[in-house]
Assembly symmetry: C2
C-alpha cells in the first residue's frame, strides 16, 4: 500500500500513532490541582492509595473509610474572628433596640460597641453567652432563614467577599478526592450545627447528616397544630477539644481513619483518629500565609495552635503549609 | 414448514409460546412476602410508589427519602420488659457482690431479688438509675464486649430464643424494601445507642451512623497513651417522646418522610414526620397478637399505646395489626 503524504489516510495514521504515543505516557489527571507537589500532597495521596488498594496490607473497606474535617480554619477562614461570631455580633446589634438591658451588660455592651478587646477578654464563656442569647428563641427554621439572609449580604472585613466564598479551594478538592475514593466525609466543628447546615452542603458537598457541631438545647412545641423546634439559651453540647471524639463516637459509632484540623481544638480528634491500629492520616493546616490569608498559631485568640505544632512531628501528623503547599487559597471570585 | 409433533423444534416453539404467555401475565416478585394483602400493606406500597415515581406529583429526591424506625416494639419485641432492661438487671446481679450497698438500696435491691413489682413502681427515673449505674465506668469498647457476650448467651424467658432472633421479619423486610427504593433507613430508639450498635447493623442492615438513641455522658481519657471514651453515670440525652424529633433533627438535619413506631413514645416522631407538606407515611405497629407475640396497648408498662391509638385514624397514620397483617412475626429459629 502506498499512502500519499497529503492524503486523509496518511493524516489518520499519524493521528493514531501520536495518540498511541501519548497514551503510553499518559498520566491520570491530577485529582488535587490546587496542591503544589511536595511532602504534604505526596503523603495524602499515598495514604489514599494504600487504604483503597484491593488486597493491599493497608486496605480498608469502603464502609470504614471515614474522614473527619474541622470547619473553622480548616475548610474556611476564621480570622479576624470566627464567622459565626461575626454573625452573632451583627445579630446582637440588630436585636439591641428590643433588649435595652444589653446596653450596660457585658459582653453585650462590648458587642454593641464593637469593643473587641473587652470581647476577647470575655473568653469562651462570654462568647458562648453571646451566641446563646443571640441565637435562642427562634425555631430552627426561623434561625436558618436569618443565617441565610446574613450570609447573602455580609462581607468579610478584610477580604471584602461573602463569607461563603472564603472556603479553601484545596480542601474542597480534597473532600471530593476522598469521596471519589469511597470515603464518607464528615464535618466536626466547634461551630454551631444549625449555622453550618445553612451553607455547608453547597460549599463542601457534605450532606446535613454528616455534620457534627456544637448545639443549643431544642424544645419541641406544637404551635397552631404545627410542630416546631425552638432554640433554647443553653448549650446542649460543645463539640471542641475532648468533645470532638465524643461527638464523633455518638454520631458515627466508628473511629475515623483520617482527620483534618488546624488548631489545638482538633488535637483530641487527631489523637483519637491516629492512635488506632492500621493506616491512619492526621493533617494539620498551618496558617502561615500572611499574604494570601493570615499567619497565626501559638498566640491567636481564634484557632490557637500550640501543642499540635509541637507534637505533629512526633505523632506522624502531616503539617500542611498554606503558603507552600497550596497553589491557591480561595477559588477566584465569582 | 411442517413440524413433526415429536421433533425438538416443536418443543422449542411450544416453550417459547409458554414463556411469552407467562411473561404477559408476569407479576414482579412481592417485595413484602411476610405481609398479608390488606390495607396496611397496600398503603405502604402505594406511598413508596408515589414518592419514587419520576415526574409524579409526590416524587421525592433520593437524598430526602429519610425513613425513621423506633426499635423496641417496632423492630423487635419489648415484653415482658425492654431487652436492654433485662441486660441491665443481669448486669446489676453480676456486679452485686462488689457493690454491697445495693443490697439495701432501691431500685437495686429489687433488681437483685427479681422483685418486678417494686421495679415497675420505680418508674422511668428508677430504671434510668439502674441503667446508668450498671452501664457506667466501662469504656465504650469494654461495654460493647459485655453486651456482645450477653446477647450470645441470654435467652428470652417466654420464647426461649436469643434476643437477636426476636426481630420482626416483616419489618426487616420493610427496611430492605425501602432501601431498595432509595430510602435511607434510620433507627430512632429510646434505648441506648451503645447497646443498640452491638447488634443492630447485623439485625437490620442499618449502619452505626444511622442510629439515634439515648446516651450517657462520655469522658475522653488517655490511658497509657491510648485514648478511650468512658461511660459516665449521667444521662446525656433521652431519645424518647418529644426527644425523638430533637434527636432526629440534630443527627439528620432533615425531616423524615416516613416514620414507624408502636407506642406513645413515638407520638412526636410521627407527628413531626407527618405534619410536613408532601406525601408522608406514619405507621403504628399494634401488638394485638397474644398467640404469636404479646397483646398490649393502653395499659402496658412497656410500650404503652394510648394517645396514638386514638389519634392514628384522624391523623391518617396506618395501624398495622400484627395478628392480621403479618404472615409471620419472627423468622424461623436458626
Amino acid at each position: 500500500m502506498s499512502i500519499d503524504s497529503s492524503s486523509p489516510a496518511r493524516w489518520f495514521v499519524a493521528a493514531v500513532l501520536a495518540f498511541a504515543a501519548l497514551a503510553a505516557h499518559a498520566q491520570p489527571a491530577d485529582p488535587l490541582p490546587s496542591w503544589n507537589a511536595g511532602t504534604s500532597k505526596a503523603r495524602i495521596v499515598a495514604f489514599v492509595q494504600a487504604v483503597t488498594e484491593p488486597g493491599g496490607k493497608d486496605f480498608v473497606a469502603p464502609a470504614d473509610r471515614i474522614a473527619v474535617f474541622d470547619n473553622d480554619g480548616t475548610l474556611w477562614s476564621e480570622q479576624p474572628m470566627y464567622f459565626q461570631l461575626a454573625f452573632a455580633l451583627d445579630r446582637v446589634r440588630a436585636l439591641a433596640p428590643k433588649r435595652p438591658e444589653w446596653k450596660t451588660k457585658q459582653p453585650f455592651k462590648a458587642a454593641i460597641e464593637g469593643d473587641m478587646k473587652t470581647l476577647a477578654a470575655a473568653g469562651e464563656r462570654g462568647l458562648l453567652e453571646l451566641v446563646a442569647a443571640s441565637h435562642a428563641g427562634l425555631t430552627t427554621d426561623e434561625f436558618a432563614a436569618v443565617v441565610k439572609d446574613w450570609l447573602a449580604t455580609a462581607r468579610h472585613p478584610k477580604l471584602e467577599r461573602p463569607y461563603t466564598e472564603l472556603t479553601f479551594a484545596p480542601m474542597v478538592e480534597l473532600l471530593a478526592y476522598l469521596r471519589a475514593n469511597g470515603f464518607q466525609t464528615w464535618i466536626v466543628s466547634g461551630g454551631g450545627i444549625e449555622f453550618m447546615r445553612v451553607f455547608a452542603e453547597q460549599a463542601y458537598g457534605v450532606p446535613p447528616q454528616q455534620m457534627i457541631g456544637s448545639s443549643l438545647d431544642l424544645k419541641y412545641e406544637v404551635r397552631n397544630g404545627k410542630p416546631v423546634l425552638v432554640q433554647q439559651p443553653k448549650a446542649a453540647f460543645i463539640d471542641d477539644k475532648a468533645g470532638k471524639p465524643v461527638g464523633i463516637h455518638k454520631a458515627i459509632g466508628k473511629r475515623p481513619i483520617a482527620a483534618f484540623g488546624n488548631s489545638d481544638g482538633d488535637f483530641q480528634m487527631l489523637e483519637w483518629t491516629t492512635s488506632a491500629p492500621g493506616a491512619r492520616l492526621g493533617v494539620i493546616v498551618h496558617h502561615d500565609d500572611a499574604e494570601r490569608e493570615y499567619a497565626y498559631d501559638r498566640k491567636s485568640p481564634f484557632g490557637k495552635l500550640d501543642r499540635g505544632l509541637d507534637e505533629a512531628g512526633p505523632r506522624g501528623w502531616t503539617r500542611v503549609s498554606m503558603k507552600n503547599d497550596w497553589k491557591q487559597v480561595y477559588a477566584p471570585a465569582r
